[in-house]
């Protein structure tokens, strides 16, 4: 039984041009899939489509089904917002790329995590307060951060807070949309390790979106390569890295190698 089944998903823009074409993939509970491609390849739109959160003007067709363990499958494409609201957070949620804008600048971090927990788990009062603090502790943030506003903490701490809010909803599927791209290189590794640990501990499935093959290879088991909205290659990380088939995959691979080489060259 699959947790997420995407079947012939097509996303078209206002002008009718297809931004994602006939994309199909599936994810079973606890599985980790990397969605990789250059910018504009449709990876983030796919993530938004899974939650039914495509920007106004974009249309999805085909099928996206979410089925939590022991639950009925729900079709996302064309579903009413009321139906989708029950899935968002509880069954699947997203950690976005830019943690500064993804958090409300005028609300204390603890409250933002708190609202997510309250909505999805129905906690109130001191139980809610404890849940917020333990959610923050789980991502390595102390009580002080709960009272801080997003601008008062560092970029890495902001992304940890966003991850805490998402994970605290206890989703079966966590979608991470370029979660480390906006961070300093030194912080990137920490946040990746954190995601890796949380997903393993909770048995969550992970849909990890990135343009960086090196990053995807560290957290995902399988990868799906997108180029201009079309799936061009898929397989296990090892397969794709050792024997890339498509020119786009080879380009992504060689840019990852170049970066590695450049970094190695700077080692003493």
């Amino acid at each position: 039984m699959n947790l997420l089944t995407v079947d012939m998903l097509t996303i078209s823009g206002t002008d009718g041009r297809a931004l994602v074409s006939e994309l199909s993939f599936a994810l079973s509970p606890g599985e980790r899939l990397g969605l990789i491609g250059e910018s504009g390849s449709g990876k983030s739109l796919t993530a938004l489509a899974v939650l039914g959160l495509l920007p106004a003007g974009l249309r999805a067709s085909g099928s996206i089904r979410l089925q939590p363990a022991g639950g009925e499958p729900t079709e996302v494409v064309g579903a009413a917002d009321r139906t989708l609201r029950r899935l968002r957070g509880r069954v699947a949620t997203v950690v976005f790329q830019e943690p500064l804008t993804a958090l409300d600048p005028l609300m204390r971090i603890g409250n933002q995590v708190g609202w997510a927990i309250r909505r999805t788990r129905g906690l109130r009062g001191s139980a809610l307060r404890d849940a917020v603090l333990s959610a923050l502790a789980e991502v390595g943030l102390d009580d002080r951060i709960a009272r801080a506003y997003p601008h008062e903490v560092s970029g890495g701490q902001r992304q940890r807070a966003a991850i805490a809010a998402a994970v605290a909803c206890r989703p079966a599927l966590l979608i991470a949309d370029e979660p480390t791209t906006a961070l300093d290189v030194t912080v990137q590794a920490d946040v990746l390790a954190l995601l890796d640990r949380l997903v393993a501990d909770r048995g969550m499935a992970l849909l990890f979106i990135s343009h960086d093959l090196a990053v995807v290879a560290r957290v995902a088991e399988r990868v799906l390569v997108l180029a201009q909205g079309v799936a061009v290659e898929s397989g296990t990380v090892t397969e794709v890295v050792t024997a890339p088939d498509h020119p786009v995959t080879r380009a992504l691979l060689s840019s990852a190698r170049q970066l590695d080489a450049a970094l190695d060259g700077r080692q003493p």
């Binding site: 917002d81 804008t101 600048p105 609300m107 506003y149 966003a162």
Partner: protein
């Protein structure tokens, strides 16, 4: 916050001092002696001298300024050269017309603009949303007096439900008549003000609707209404509040036009009369009171914004990270 209040309050006082100097100097460098207001064209030099002594324009500028400042501190705005009545009480009388007019119009404009601007943003992709948006654009281009005249034509001349102008001699002692007299002026100002306010509310709402944090809230299970209520309202309020401060100040000064269309005895018409008659104490008094009002409104708007946005509080909270 206390440190900020002290600093911002100090700035307020400094601006007031600066404004009083500027006001005083501006009027003095204008050609024409204030004593002329008391004289006929064929006045003799002796009469001119006597008039100058009477209004104090024979003394050196610094001395005149110190006298004026001394009066201000005692909240005494001097006496009119023309009527010889004290200026302060007349301003108070006039404010009894201008303040209710400006505040009611302001409140009405907010009541109109906030929901309309919000819906405009919500419906920005539909033809009706675009139509309201275009109409508000048109509303900005229309001058105040024209709206006033249009309302007079429809409601006073045709339908005869409201007076075309004037204010009851008894003032607020006759509240019914005072309210009917102010209805059309209030509508005029409110309509014109809401036209531009709608634009601001619309763009602030659009910013919020396209914001990442709203999307995050939705991804975490919030309904669009909940996300808007919990995150959108406060975020959109910031830019709107700063505009509201400016709009309220503008209305205060802009009542001149409305008061002349509707023949209202407000602050604006007092100023116009003062200018015509070279009545310096009246001009100074009215301008000073308006300046104080505008500066205080600005102060309050700044304060409101600070309370709304923690990012602005960072500097004074003494803790950056």
């Amino acid at each position: 916050m206390v440190r900020y209040l002290v600093r911002r309050g100090g700035l307020l006082v400094a601006s007031l001092l600066f404004a009083s100097v500027a006001l005083f100097l501006l009027l003095r460098v204008l050609p024409g002696d204030p004593a002329n207001a008391l004289l006929t064209v064929d006045a003799t030099p002796e009469q001119i001298e006597a008039a100058r002594r009477q209004v104090g324009s024979d003394r050196p500028l610094p001395e005149q300024f110190v006298t004026w400042l001394g009066q201000l501190v005692r909240l005494d705005l001097g006496r009119s050269f023309v009527s010889t009545l004290p200026v302060g009480p007349e301003i108070t009388d006039r404010l009894a017309v201008t303040v209710p007019l400006a505040l009611t119009a302001f409140a009405l404009a907010i009541v109109i603009a906030v929901p309309v601007g919000y819906l405009c943003a919500r419906w920005s992709r539909t033809w009706y949303g675009a139509t309201i948006s275009a109409l508000s654009q048109l509303g900005i281009a229309v001058p105040v007096f024209w709206v006033g005249m249009l309302l007079v034509f429809v409601f006073a001349l045709r339908l005869r439900v409201f007076p075309s102008g004037g204010f009851p001699r008894a003032g607020w002692a006759d509240p019914g008549a005072a309210l009917t007299a102010l209805t059309l002026p209030v509508l005029t100002v409110a309509l014109v003000m809401s036209a531009s306010l709608i634009r601001y509310v619309r763009s602030a709402t659009l910013d919020v609707l396209h914001s990442d944090y709203l999307r995050t809230a939705r991804a975490l299970g919030a309904s669009s209404a909940e996300a808007m209520w919990r995150h959108g309202l406060r975020n959109a309020a910031g830019p709107v509040v700063s505009i509201l401060g400016i709009e309220l100040a503008t209305t205060f000064l802009g009542t001149v036009v409305v008061e002349s269309v509707f023949a209202l005895p407000g602050l604006g018409s007092m100023l116009v009369k003062g200018i015509m008659q070279h009545d310096y104490p009246v001009i100074q008094g009215v301008l000073f009171v308006s300046t104080v009002t505008v500066l205080v409104i600005g102060f309050l708007a700044d304060l409101a914004q600070r309370l709304l946005d923690p990012r602005l509080r960072r500097a004074s909270s003494g803790r950056s990270r």
